[in-house]
Subunit: 248 residues, 8 copies
């Protein structure tokens, strides 16, 4: 439910172009769509500029389908993160409107079209093992209407690979930097550019990486200012931050 | 050294309004000002939009004075964080241009004047014990030229206090939310506004707060998207992020 | 073995309405019912008001069946927590008196009927992923004879969903608040009501949630007083606390 | 500001026994008393049954004095926790109404008189080193109007000392059990009584006690149900929980 | 290889009752039996009184069989810990002399017969889930020739169950106390007896038990002296300690 | 209060050699000596073979003096651990019977005389920085009547220093091995001797020693069996364990 | 791409022995070989002396095959670590040049031949469970052209096993010491030899070994200087360090 | 005691140039110099190439003086680390041969003269706050006879500062890289050079740096191979590693 959709309903009713029954159906879940064990936050976009999103981890395919249908019925776009391939296949059979990106593990529908007036969001990742998290960030940012460029495998162990992309990094309005292991990439980039940078630690690594803790701590302690951090493997959250920065 | 100052030097020389000696003095520390055990990063503003900043913790007053003089000599502003009162007094006697804010523990000179074309940065804190960290964020943001509003003592245990400020929060271009203890403030605010939000955990608390770890973890796991996080007590870093967002 | 059952035995014997043999069978496991590798604490209800409960994790179906039969033989109710569906099916075939709740993962028999003189226990959870833990709390509280109301998916990222339930929360004698991720729900509720509140962190989340540690720490550091905390995912323990509060 | 005081104002105005000016003064800080960097939550008692309390750690004596005066002016009682002796002396000179308990480190005024209709709260501690935390709990509970009994130095290494107090423990409406080191006391008591039990871990110990973490974890994992836990050294919070249980 | 066996070889040779070839075969692995990737420490019993033991975790059945045969060939007893049922079955088929205890997960051969001159070792465990670790301790102690008594399910939540066994506990020369969750059992027992007590934390529990860390910390911080601790789930190590105490 | 002292009282009374008044005075604190905020566990030696000991950390000199006097009055020996020099001086002035060992930080009176029938306890430490903890262990063991030998500065970085003492180590009935940093000493010794070994980690070290955690973990994971562990810096506890082993 | 190969190309072209097309193919990936989601760092050997290596964890067989082919096409050797047997079999079918070592879990091609002018690298491990990590170190060191000797199962619990190898240890130019559990091996060796020693903690152990953390901490705190440490289970990294030391 | 000194004694005696008394005095502490609570490891240099070093932390000035005199008496050099200024002044007054470096906090005597046949050791640090640890490394390396170059304040936030030193870094035989906060410096350097690199994390930072843990973890997880790590703030250990590499 966003400003324009709400406005359309009101004006449609006023102009007679929308029947009371149709309006009622569209407003049914407004302000909050209650199900057996959920309350769809249909006002979220109105308040925060971001749609209600489905956190797919631990939800059954049936549950995801129910939520996706409710969102579609209210005219909202669908974004379901952390959905594995089996659930995705079941959901797409039930709701043909849904698309699936296996790398990003995202099920989605009605992505917003790219808004050319917005700045470019650069999504950079350190190694090929970080690509799934970077893909989650890139796809979410695109579904929210942002121009996105992806730069991959430019970890600090081979600085020339990173420096080769400096022009594109300096062209970005926001940078999302994704790295596991020692998580040094954001610090190095932040020392080279003037855009805000969202750092995403990943759980890539072993031993004393502690499933991403090493990268998380490195990013929180970066000596280059202008960097803020989201949760381990949280490409989705980074995209939301970038979208909020890029929106106005 | 920023774009315009470098440009002034070049044009000044070209136009004859700047003597080679004067230009030489201004460029002396360019690209990097070497001292006995430091290398002043005088190109930092050119690359990142942020000035070289003095991290005062563990530095002697003498060391801070030397660095401040070097920055002033190159025409740069001075920002020294985590400076206690005794060192500040000594530094101010040596360098009269310096001002000091005891709550924010910042020593500074030549703050940029407020740029009215920029959006407003709201700095919100949960409790009165969080005020020093919030002050660091607010003062740094102001010194970088941003309009800033401060909202204090609006922790989630008394929601009505927070909701009373909703209009100002919704008017902000960026929000910095500062909280210790359970660190719930950013999540609650992020569910109500559409601006990007930088969360700053503080070390306020005791026992299982583990000097700010509880708040840090809460902020990294916030269920409201659009929130990114900086290090514990890092008001300075949050201000730099907000400035980078607000700059263009 | 509770006060009234013990009293019935004694009076039954005195009045001759109970034969010595029957009394002996009922007392056989008193004070403690010894098996091959367990000692059933049949006096527990007498001492603590709570029955001996079977912790199902890591116990075989056969073991659970043996314990359930022993409890039923002494006239006690049965509550077995953390029982998966396969074991539950096997146990129900062996002991038809048993019922099973798959969401709460509880196997039970002879629940106490609802005592209308008791206050209402509100079980609130932040997200749909927290429902299993909330269900465990709600079902245990009901089996112990308490009136229970369940409120679901009212996390702090959409405050209006929570505030819509304020009347029911204020009507409760005890509140159990269940949340994972940043665990902010208990603090927000505790600032709005005057009932004692038991907070239950859940292991819902990923990355820096550390399987519920983030939520646990947040709850221990809540700035709203009147909140106490139980172990991660311990819906059962919260229900026992609430029952102890509600009992008198 | 509690129900009866608000009602008195309204009826006093209606009956003419209260002048508009006097009423205005009493209501001046209603709903929230704003100072330079604080917002006094004067509605707290109305909503939660507990007064706004001053967290003394890190606040100057001057700050505590200002807050105490504001609370007294609104007719509220004063409770300031974690106040050291020097600040307390300064505050008492400025505000003669204040009393100070050096063991509990609490500064207070206008304690509620003991309500004989309430149940008894037993505050038990394991060792003499735990006495300060236990005293904080006991004094706060008394200031809120509860009958309190204190039992000291009954750690589990000498069970007979604990068992000697079993009658008093069984007479309590709520039990607060305070222990450091291995934190076993709450588990042992909870297996013997039917009252709700609030466990308070203390930072007493050394080495692998990790400033109270060992006791905290033990209490969260207690095998006797009916126990909930508050933060390390949080006697104040335990008293608030006990008061909420005991209030109705 | 123990003192008496070595002596037998030497005297046998001297007396002509042992042929040089037979002696050679028996001494082949002395001082250390080298295999492809192992060095059997055949002198261990000579030095430490304890035999070389096979740590079964992560070893293949084939590897265990090879080691068992080598030990048997040198006349040593066999003790292989942490062996699952599948490997045990394969090993027993290959080496019929081996016996297996599925609860203790131990594969063994040639246990020493019980030495009646030794004191009794009491192995006590808190809950039925701790039985596997207690069984490992008990079986290892028995295989080393010690009289052992097992006491099960006497956790501190039902003190009367523990107190019922006080006579047997006081009759023990050494006590091994096994507990998970809050790990309070050793402290309580150590306050009641004068025998040395070895505490074994187990990984039984969930959430904030952190796989046995809560119990480990509790045991390290016990307020009753005379308790020492071994690794989580290390029933084997506790039995070795008890044997060393009991040996002389 | 030990068996023989209790027996002396009874027989003295029976034989008339003890007046009822004198007996009364001796039994005054039996079974437990209550003070303002302590309960002296005067039965402890009867139950556990160890006297009630004063934990000096955080207790005032006055408090220690009061407890020491009470213990002396009941005929018990005095052992107060973790007492700094200032408190010790004050206590010795008040109670001339007390002696003080500044290295071990122990205040004591009426040590038991050495029992020659007992085995020898070897107290070994890795470095000179570990000497205070080793001294605490050695002095406590001596005060309890055990023959003690001390071996110092034999860390594993110079194996020949350790091996030079092998004869004395093999002569010991119990070994206490004290080490900080990597804590390898107990493992190495345990592979060379057959006596039970109590390992004491110390907080000696810096950085990733985490105040003794590195040594503690190393000792818990030692590959040589027969080792058990006490808390970091807990020389006192190790001595109690050794005494319990050595007592019978 | 190393110095000599680059030189061969240049001279080959100059001498006409290399056709421009062949040279082009060899240089195609120089300076960096871009694929769909990777940038092969073909300059790595030129800069660091070490080839680009494939981190096999989490990569599909197809991905590994693609990378291996690209490396072979540029004339580089292939080293892929952490490759399980199934992926290895698939890769070897696709790229027959590849060999596989199942213990070391390494897939490799074109190992450098042993350089007899280099010193010997001794790879020592404490237990048989540490063999896989030791094998990874040994095989990588051999593939890089170093003479290697392996010493296995010489943990500190049986010092004589280690001391038997002292001559070989003293003959080494570099020592790699691999150990899990308490990780004491490197400290003991470093006190006996004068070669640089790289310590590798392994995840072998259970309970309080915390998947190798105990060994890691022990190695970081070793009291014998001359020891440096790599990540848990990182045999590969240790070999690279040893190669860098041994190279010149 | 090194090879040549021992040889001199033997040959001196043989040639009559050394009197038996003089030889005796020189050998007095051989093999180990025993004091009241220490055993000087006078053979250490013979075995490991490194002298016995005094760890000054927690030792009194008197203790340091005694050890220094003993080392000087045996002809050994003196290196005492972590000595504060007060102790150093006292020691220098007692032993005039001693010199002191206040930044490195090292007290030393008889440094070896620089061996020009050795390679150069580059000691690089990220920030000015890391200088003390870097100085400890540099001074120890120099005292052991190595040519050393120091490069300061070249953290990754200003890459150009680091790249300016690339030639010197590539000229080094060994590199010691010292960094706190996010600890990224070693990874970036290791990707640019082919020398072995010893990484030293420092405790510089605050909040989530956890006194150097963030830097330590980053360094252990570096994606550039050829890096090994020593304890936090352990400049001394890094110098010993570099010396061992550089020695032959």
């Amino acid at each position: 439910m966003d400003q324009s959709r709400l406005s359309n309903i009101v004006h449609g009713l006023a102009a007679g172009s929308l029947s009371p029954d149709a309006a009622l159906a569209m407003l049914r879940d407004f302000p909050a769509g209650a199900g057996t064990d959920f309350l769809l936050d249909t006002q979220r976009r109105l308040r925060t500029g971001l749609p209600e999103v489905i956190y797919g981890e631990g939800k059954s395919a049936g549950h995801i389908i129910e939520l996706a249908r409710r969102l579609l019925a209210t005219g909202e776009q669908v974004l379901a993160t952390r959905v594995d391939e089996a659930k995705a296949a079941e959901a797409r059979q039930a709701v043909p409107e849904l698309a699936y990106d296996a790398t990003a593990r995202i099920l989605y529908a009605r992505p917003k079209s790219c808004d050319p007036k917005r700045g470019m969001i650069a999504v950079v990742c350190a190694g090929t093992s970080d690509v799934p998290v970077a893909s989650e960030a890139a796809l979410v940012a695109r579904c929210l209407g942002n121009p996105v460029e992806e730069i991959r495998d430019v970890g600090v162990a081979g600085l020339h690979r990173l420096l080769a992309w400096l022009d594109r990094l300096r062209a970005a309005r926001v940078i999302i930097a994704v790295a596991g292991m020692e998580g040094a990439l954001p610090s190095v980039i932040a020392g080279l550019v003037d855009a805000p940078l969202i750092a995403v630690p990943t759980s890539v690594g072993y031993g004393a990486s502690f499933h991403g803790v090493a990268a998380l701590l490195a990013m929180l302690n970066g000596c280059a200012p202008g960097v803020s951090v989201v949760n381990i493997d949280n490409g989705f959250g980074a995209a939301c931050c970038a979208d909020a920065i890029n929106r106005r």
